[in-house]
């Protein structure tokens, strides 16, 4: 499913995923990185309004300057774990344009004056990266040597404190957030963890400038992002577009819907359901009223003949299975919440069932070392809103999807 869509339509636009594959092609197209110092790199990231592409959308320049100022030899980490099952964009980026990621990692290292750099990626991606790192070293491209680490295939393995624990050799599980990794992460050093797509954007900004970056996206949310479009579309795959791209353009770039759609899951398994409105802009601002955000760019199209409650119960069950067995409210609460939603989805109604789903969602939120419970609760609450009519039908033992009432 890792295909890169061609034929840009509307605001679909190729920046990261454009161009030939390979180091020679990369150098011919983009040239070597300009020599920039810490304050220049941080300034460019700020002027470009670059935000993290790993899900939370945090301003990159703030993290860079916090780590640069934390004192002590910093460590930078490129995060390509991509534990989210509906996401393929980081794998696509590593397969097609890994040099942009590695350039970005060197820039992040220069910005934070780091003494060590790590790349954390699925095991299958490592052999090619190992060869590329040798070629780049021979070409004199990387000032700082990059150490590769295998990311386990689990939903939480890409959470930033899990990334740090994995590199520290204590297992890819999240840690308590009282001590922030910006202060003490890998080996106790101030640590920057950045998604690989974020780093690739930084590599382009360093070459073409903040002004260029601002020409895509919206005034508040500049630049492009990588979307992984799947579900009821003809050509599922990774598509690049400016923030604010109409949902319909993303679906069209994925070959169009295979049948009428009833809703779209945006942001991933920790995301939210939104109406399948082709005009809906994919931006934080436009998605906020639905309790959703572009997140890490996941877009799953739900066909009219599928049951949104059933689909959400399936995902919630998967997320409950992915709990890193550490925190009581998450270990107990997520399976209970998923099972309660599954009862509703399977039309095993009992009095107060919807209220119980909502109570559990609120009970688990904010009560774990990481935000896995919060994200799972967000998805479940958004389904209760988006599929309100289905909830009522299910309570009466009926299902709108299977009865063809749409």
């Amino acid at each position: 499913m890792t295909s890169v869509a061609e034929a840009p339509t509307g605001r679909v636009e190729q920046r990261l995923l454009d161009g030939e594959v390979g180091l020679d092609a990369h150098l011919a197209r983009h040239g070597r990185l300009p020599i920039l110092d810490s304050s220049q790199i941080i300034g460019m990231a700020r002027d470009a309004g670059l935000t993290g592409r790993g899900g939370a959308g945090f301003p990159v320049w703030r993290k860079l300057s916090a780590v640069a100022q934390a004192g002590g030899a910093a460590v930078v980490v490129a995060n390509a774990a991509e534990g989210e099952p509906a996401s393929r964009k980081d794998r696509a980026l590593l397969a097609y344009q890994p040099n942009l990621v590695l350039d970005g990692l060197q820039l992040a290292a220069a910005a934070t004056r780091a003494k060590a750099a790590h790349l954390y990626a699925p095991k299958a991606a490592l052999p090619a990266l190992r060869r590329l790192l040798v070629a780049r070293r021979t070409a004199g491209l990387d000032r700082l040597e990059v150490t590769l680490h295998a990311a386990p295939d689990a939903f939480v393995s890409g959470e930033e404190s899990a990334v740090v624990s994995a590199i520290n050799g204590t297992g890819a599980v999240p840690a308590d957030k009282r001590i922030r990794i910006i202060q003490a992460g890998v080996g106790g050093a101030p640590t920057l963890v950045q998604n690989v797509e974020t780093l690739a954007h930084l590599a382009l900004i360093a070459r073409y400038g903040a002004g260029w970056f601002l020409t895509a996206g919206t005034a508040d949310e500049p630049g492009t992002f990588l979307a992984t479009v799947s579900g009821a579309v003809r050509r599922p795959g990774v598509i690049e577009a400016g923030y604010g791209v109409p949902l319909g353009d993303l679906i069209a770039a994925a070959g169009g819907a295979t049948m009428p759609l009833q809703a779209v899951l945006i942001g991933g398994y920790h995301g939210g359901w939104v109406p399948a409105d082709p005009a809906l802009p994919v931006s934080r601002r436009a998605l906020e009223p639905f309790g959703a955000s572009p997140g890490a760019g996941v877009v799953v199209a739900l066909p009219a003949n599928a049951c949104g409650l059933g689909e959400t119960a399936r995902i919630a069950g998967y997320l409950a299975d992915q709990v890193a067995g550490q925190c009581g409210p998450c270990i107990n609460g997520l399976p209970r919440m998923a099972a309660t939603l599954a009862d509703l989805a399977a039309r095993r109604p009992r009095p107060g069932l919807p209220a119980e789903v909502e109570r559990l969602a609120r009970l688990v939120s904010g009560r774990g070392a990481c935000r896995h419970p919060d994200g799972t609760a967000r998805l479940v609450l958004s389904a209760m809103r988006a599929f309100e009519a289905d909830v009522v039908a299910h309570l009466h033992g009926r299902c709108l999807a299977t009865e063809g009432h749409r």
Binding site: P174, A175, R178, G328, P329, N332, R336, G366, R367, A369
Partner: protein, 66 residues
């Protein structure tokens, strides 16, 4: 000051919910729930909060500035 719970350490035996009833309740499984959701410690409960922190058998409770 705020009360922080390290969920990776807490075992949910509920010593704290007894010592600090004003701020904590128990969930369905015995784990503490911050009544205000944030852990803000009112002046008057400073002493009680410190006692709960000292008595937590798993050292899961911490006082933080933020």
């Amino acid at each position: 000051m705020r009360l922080h719970i390290d969920w990776t350490a807490c075992d949910g035996r509920g010593v704290c919910t007894e010592l600090l009833e004003e701020m904590l309740t128990e969930d369905d499984w015995g784990y503490p729930v911050l009544r205000d959701g944030k852990g803000e410690i009112p002046r008057a409960l400073d002493g009680a909060a410190r006692r709960a922190v000292d008595r937590c058998p798993r050292l899961a409770l911490k006082l933080t500035q933020q």
